[in-house]
């Protein structure tokens, strides 16, 4: 007899699931999700710690562990140096650009000019979080970090690792967890530029997990190996966060723009600790408004 109640119960739960989707899409589900995350967050943290612990212990001798640690330290040091090198190159390029502007100003003394500084400086890099899990939906590329709105994290904030390598942006928060949309997610778009040539484009993810730079004008020269950084256009991101390096460039005659395949600056499957940039200097929009 009780099995007969299956269909109506199924319909009720299916309709409830559709209602949940509707509420989620409209953004009205935030408080309820936040409440449930109080239950999930500790379990996720505990299991992530156990998985990490078990993964590093099983089947390894002491020497192997020590060697792994040494390699990890060297890799970490190397990563920091590479990122530092990228940053220095960015400062060099910026310096050259400022010198060119200064020369222009000196060669044209009658021109009036206003110096603007759109260079990211002194970002308030605040909450530091550990990656505790990946998205359970295999068609999305998100990671879950163990800091949430209680630590000041909000939707849209950029997330970096290994110095200044951007991995993504906060897409959703709960009090104790945040969901980071990786830059290689198919729905991710970042306005970017090449560090040396200053060529602009859009870095977007793909379904295969590849990182692509699109919307590059056809007459621009793009060199393989060139570093791609974020642009401050739009005011949503600080300038100078590293996205990757150009691996190859294609331009079909039928296409309006060139397209570059990018080698990401980080291995998205091996991200452990990240920083969330909660604030950065932005141009004052009020000054742009014409009275």
């Amino acid at each position: 007899m009780k099995r007969d109640s299956g269909p109506w119960l199924a319909w009720v739960l299916l309709i409830l699931a559709l209602v949940l989707i509707g509420l989620s899409e409209s953004g009205a589900l935030g408080p309820a999700e936040g409440l449930l995350s109080f239950v999930v967050a500790p379990v996720e943290r505990a299991v992530a710690a156990i998985v990490k612990g078990v993964g590093s212990v099983t089947g390894k001798t002491r020497d192997v562990v020590e060697l792994q640690q040494r390699v990890a330290e060297l890799e970490s040091g190397n990563e920091v140096l590479v990122q530092e090198n990228f940053r220095l190159r960015e400062y060099q390029a910026e310096n050259e650009e400022l010198r060119r502007q200064l020369n222009f100003h000196q060669e044209n003394p009658t021109y009036g000019s206003i110096g603007v500084d759109v260079v990211e400086q002194g970002c308030t890099i605040f909450p530091c979080g550990d990656v505790v899990g990946q998205d359970t939906n295999p068609y999305l590329r998100f990671v879950i970090i163990n800091v949430g709105s209680q630590a000041g994290v909000a939707v849209g904030m950029p997330v970096v690792t290994g110095g200044a390598a951007m991995i993504g942006r906060i897409a959703r928060t709960s009090p104790n967890l945040s969901y980071v949309q990786l830059i290689n997610d198919p729905a991710s778009f970042v306005v970017a530029m090449l560090q040396q040539s200053r060529v602009m484009g859009v870095v977007e993810g793909s379904e295969e997990g590849q990182l692509l730079m699109t919307n590059i004008l056809p007459d621009e020269e793009v060199a393989e190996g060139e570093t791609i950084i974020t642009s401050s256009i739009g005011g949503m991101l600080p300038r100078g966060l590293i996205l990757g390096q150009v691996e190859s460039v294609t331009h079909l005659e039928s296409d309006l723009f060139q397209r570059a395949v990018i080698r990401p600056a980080v291995d998205f499957r091996r991200i452990e600790t990240v920083l969330v940039i909660t604030d950065f200097p932005q141009p004052d929009l009020d000054e742009l408004v014409i009275p």
């Binding site: 009780k2 099995r3 109640s5 299956g6 269909p7 119960l9 199924a10 739960l13 299916l14 409830l16 699931a17 559709l18 209602v19 949940l20 989707i21 509707g22 509420l23 989620s24 899409e25 589900l29 999700e33 449930l36 995350s37 239950v39 999930v40 379990v43 996720e44 299991v47 992530a48 998985v51 505790v132 899990g133 990946q134 998205d135 359970t136 939906n137 295999p138 068609y139 999305l140 998100f142 879950i144 897409a171 959703r172 969901y179 980071v180 949309q181 198919p186 729905a187 379904e207 295969e208 499957r269």
Partner: protein
């Protein structure tokens, strides 16, 4: 009601899926632990409990996803309902039913998930999703179903003894 142990089992399965299995790549894919448990429980206990496990398991998965809340809930509820239908009993002995439905249920679950995502405007390719995610997951769930069955049958016998033969 089986949810006394169902909620912790499904919650831990979802967390394991997020913290561990997403990094595991076998045959180019990874198993869907929560989906497998929902299908198995539905075959053991019928559609009524299958939909409840699908709903709860889906909520656990949605809590660990950056996508719209309810995607997994809807998908797993559909799978839990269909896997527990009487016509599934016509497929043969429990072992055959379980093996077939583990694979078919996984494909169906991913199909529902993909269709809803497409309807909501997500950038996903149905064909590619099936090829690279759903089919490897179906094969892995097919291989793992005996373990899930053994695990859940223990709970089934335990709860049946407690409830005096409520279960199927």
């Amino acid at each position: 009601m089986s949810l006394y142990y169902g909620i912790p089992i499904l919650l831990i399965a979802a967390v394991l899926q997020s913290a561990w299995l997403e990094d595991v790549q076998i045959l180019g894919g990874r198993p869907d632990l929560v989906l497998l448990l929902v299908v198995t429980w539905s075959i053991i206990r019928g559609a009524r409990e299958g939909v409840v496990w699908g709903f709860v398991g889906g909520i656990c998965c949605d809590l660990l996803s950056g996508g719209s809340f309810g995607l997994w809930t809807f998908s797993l509820t559909v799978v839990g309902f269909l896997a527990g239908q009487p016509w599934v009993h016509a497929l043969g002995p429990t072992v055959i039913r379980l093996a077939l439905m583990s694979a078919l249920g996984t494909v169906l679950g991913h199909f529902v998930l993909l269709v809803v995502m497409i309807l909501l405007g997500y950038v996903v390719d149905l064909g590619r999703g099936f090829q690279t995610v759903a089919l490897p997951a179906a094969v892995l769930n097919f291989l793992l179903c005996p373990f899930a069955f053994t695990f859940l049958v223990w709970f089934h016998h335990r709860s049946r003894a407690q409830l005096g033969g409520f279960a199927q």
